[in-house]
C-alpha cells in the first residue's frame, strides 16, 4: 500500500500499455497514443489542442495564391536553412512524409506546392510593363510568399512550431504518464521523510 502511494501523484496513476508503441503513435498523430492506452479524454484534448494549432498554422501560412501549407517545408539549402522544421517534426505524420516528398520533387512539386520548399530566386522586379505578377505557387520564392502573406507566413510558422513542441510533451506523457506536479512531488518527499524518521 505504501509502495503504491509513493508511485502515485495527486491523481490516479494511469495504466500505461506498451509505452514504446504509445509513444510512437503519439508522435505520429497527437493523441493517438493516448487513445491506444484508453486515455480517451486526454487523447481528445491533445488532438483538439495540438492538431488544431498545427492545422491553424498551416492555414495561416498559406493561401490560394501562394499555395497551402507553405509554412511547413524541409530545406537545408545554402541561403535557406529551415530550422523551424526541426520543431515542426514533433508532429510526425502530418509533417515528415509530405515535406520530404516535396523536397525530393522540389523541381516539380505536386499538389500546387503544398508543403513544398520555395524556389530559390528573387522576385522579378524588372517588369517594365507594370508591377510584377506573382509566379505560380510551384515556382513561388520565399520573398514572394512573405510579400503576399505579410506576417501571416511567420505566424503560421510559429503556430506549427509550437504544435510540434507541444506534441513532444504529449509523447512523453504517453510513454511515462503524467509528470507529478511540484506540489505533489514535495508532498511525496515530505511523507517519505516522515516514514524514514519513524522507522
Amino acid at each position: 500500500m505504501a509502495e503504491s502511494n509513493e508511485v502515485q501523484s495527486n491523481d490516479q496513476s494511469p495504466r500505461l500499455k506498451d509505452p514504446l508503441i504509445a509513444g510512437v503513435l503519439a508522435w505520429l498523430i497527437p493523441g493517438l497514443g493516448h487513445f491506444y492506452q484508453g486515455r480517451n479524454a486526454k487523447g481528445a484534448l491533445f488532438v483538439i489542442c495540438i492538431l488544431g494549432t498545427f492545422l491553424y498554422g498551416l492555414y495561416l501560412g498559406g493561401s490560394r495564391e501562394v499555395g497551402w501549407g507553405r509554412a511547413v517545408y524541409f530545406s537545408f539549402r545554402t541561403g535557406d536553412w529551415r530550422l523551424p522544421w526541426l520543431c515542426q517534426i514533433g508532429i510526425g505524420l502530418p509533417t515528415v512524409p509530405m515535406t520530404l516528398l516535396q523536397w525530393k520533387l522540389q523541381d516539380q512539386p505536386i499538389l500546387n506546392g503544398f508543403m513544398a520548399p520555395p524556389a530559390l530566386r528573387l522576385p522579378d522586379m524588372t517588369d517594365i510593363n507594370g508591377p510584377p505578377q506573382p509566379p505560380p505557387p510551384t515556382q513561388m520564392s520565399l520573398a514572394w510568399i512573405n510579400r503576399l502573406l505579410p506576417h501571416y507566413f511567420e505566424m503560421g510558422t510559429v503556430y506549427t512550431m509550437i504544435a510540434g513542441l507541444l506534441n513532444i510533451l504529449a509523447v512523453y506523457d504517453a510513454c511515462c504518464g503524467p509528470v507529478p506536479a511540484e506540489s505533489a512531488k514535495n508532498d511525496d518527499e515530505k511523507s517519505r521523510g516522515k516514514r524514514k524518521e519513524k522507522s
Binding site: Q12, L45, Y159, L166, L169, A181
Partner: protein, 61 residues
C-alpha cells in the same frame, strides 16, 4: 497586422496551458484548474514584458 495581432496569442495560450496541464494530471478537473493557473501565469508574464518594453519605448522616444 496591428494591435489585432495580439488576438493570435489567445489560441496559443489556451492550447499551451491545456497541454502543459494535461502532462501533469490525469483527471479532467485537475487539468482544467492547472491550465487556468498556467494561462494566468503566461498572461501575467506577457503583461510584465509588455510593461518593461513600453517603459523602454517611453524613455527612447
Amino acid at each position: 497586422m496591428s494591435s489585432s495581432s495580439f488576438w493570435f496569442a489567445v489560441p496559443l495560450i489556451v492550447s499551451v496551458s491545456l497541454v502543459y496541464a494535461a502532462t501533469r494530471h490525469e483527471e479532467v478537473g485537475a487539468i482544467l484548474s492547472h491550465a487556468f493557473r498556467v494561462a494566468v501565469w503566461i498572461v501575467g508574464f506577457m503583461l510584465l514584458v509588455f510593461g518593461i518594453l513600453y517603459l523602454i519605448s517611453m524613455q527612447v522616444s
